[in-house]
Amino acid sequence: MFSPLEIVVRRMHLGLLWSASLLVPTGMRSEWWREWCAELWYVLRECSSKTSASPRSIREATRFCMGAYQDAFWLRKRSRQNHPLFAQIGSSPSACLFLLAVAFFLVSGIAHLSARITAGISRIEVYPWRMSDTGAAPCDCPFDLLAGRGSLRGTQLMFDGFSHYKITQETVWSQNMPRTKWTVAEARSDFFDVLHLPVRLTEGVTTGHDRVPHLVLGQDTWLRDFRGKANIAGTQLHVGSVDAIVSGVAFGGSMGLPGSANAWLLAPDLQSGRGKTEYVAGHLSSHGYFEDGRWGLSVVGILFAFLLFPFVSRPSVGEYGSSSPKPSLARRTRFWAFLFAKIAFGSLIVCVRGPWLFGRATLFAVVELSTGCFFRFTLRFGPEIGLLRSAASVPCLPQANDASR
């Protein structure tokens, strides 16, 4: 009688053998499987006679099974050698394309399947901007990407912001309000900004209360529990163990977000582990990430990478043989012109568009990087171009073309 552990281990070993058997050519598979299963039986018997299901015996049996892969690979290789036509097809471009196509469809299938599985676990709620001639207007209703992406067909939409919130049940009360059970969504302070959700925030509430969590009431809750009180902003409410200041009223699409929250508790540092249900929400727009000019940073970043490339690599203009310690005047002139042109062009971009494209930190980093690269370049090629003559006496290793001379 086997213990549960032994049964699990036995199945694991058989699983290893089975997966290895898939590598064996079909004609030999049944014989191969029979032999390895029989041998595994003897290995397990031998191992269990030494020690009963000890880690060492399990390890030995596992090592034995791993050898099956080598055997299977050998048989596969042998089979290909014995059937050169198959080997030829297997290495031909058409076969490679076929395999790529199979891999593509396989990956697509898995991705499609996993999307469906993910859909069952969590939903992604997104808010598309409804485009019109007059401009963009937020859609009033939440849009379920997974369920309703068909309606987006033909429209190129991209995510430009993600945030998350979690739903908790809290008792809310104040001096003028009895204890009421609310569904509260806890989110980061920038939740409404990131998702472009419409909210009437009252000015002046945030000043002086930065560290106090803000509470954005749902429109229905505001009308029901506060009877649409106009000067609700600034009211202090106890939300569970937290004191919060009412900073505005959310309306429109935010009320359709999953969780049916009565209010949104916004705090800079969202505590984790309290809420039972957590949601991730994203915002879609037709411009996506590139909407607010960040594309400029990306483009100029790539441009700068190209600009800096000669400074961090060895340009061909500096390739001189060791037999010519000083390059010709034409070469030196070309080099210096090239260098100054690069620096001038880079500086021009930084000066003209720098403040717009970069923050101060980025600008500082670029300048520092440029300076560092310049020094590196000078130290590396200075002796060769006559800049650091004292360092030119350092012996150089002969280059390949010199050795051939």
Partner: protein, 104 residues
């Protein structure tokens, strides 16, 4: 058509083990100390080179002893001469692989 078998140390060791009475995969592994991933491909190669031949044990015998049937290996004539050549080439090999006491 059998290829010219390259008499490697592993081949010599396995030939000696089979010649000494260790006639199935696991016992050869145990005696030579070689891993399964080396022994089984080597034996397939040797079988292809007609140095050894294999046969399955009769099912009735295995059933009687309540165990799965084994695949036994034995030397061919070419294998026997290769084994002799191996012993000459690797004199210490006989000491490494003693004769099996009970060949099951």
């Amino acid at each position: 058509m059998a290829r010219d078998p390259g008499l490697t140390h592993i081949t010599a060791l396995i030939l000696q083990a089979i010649d000494s009475g260790f006639v199935y995969g696991f016992s050869i592994m145990e005696m030579t100390g070689l891993p399964s991933g080396t022994v089984y491909p080597a034996m397939r190669r040797m079988e292809e080179d007609q140095l050894i031949r294999s046969r399955w044990e009769r099912q009735a015998i295995a059933d009687r002893e309540q165990r799965p049937p084994r695949k036994y290996y034995q030397l061919t004539a070419a294998g026997k001469s290769a084994s002799d050549a191996a012993r000459k080439r690797y004199p210490l090999i006989e000491r490494l692989v003693p004769a099996a006491e009970a060949n099951s």
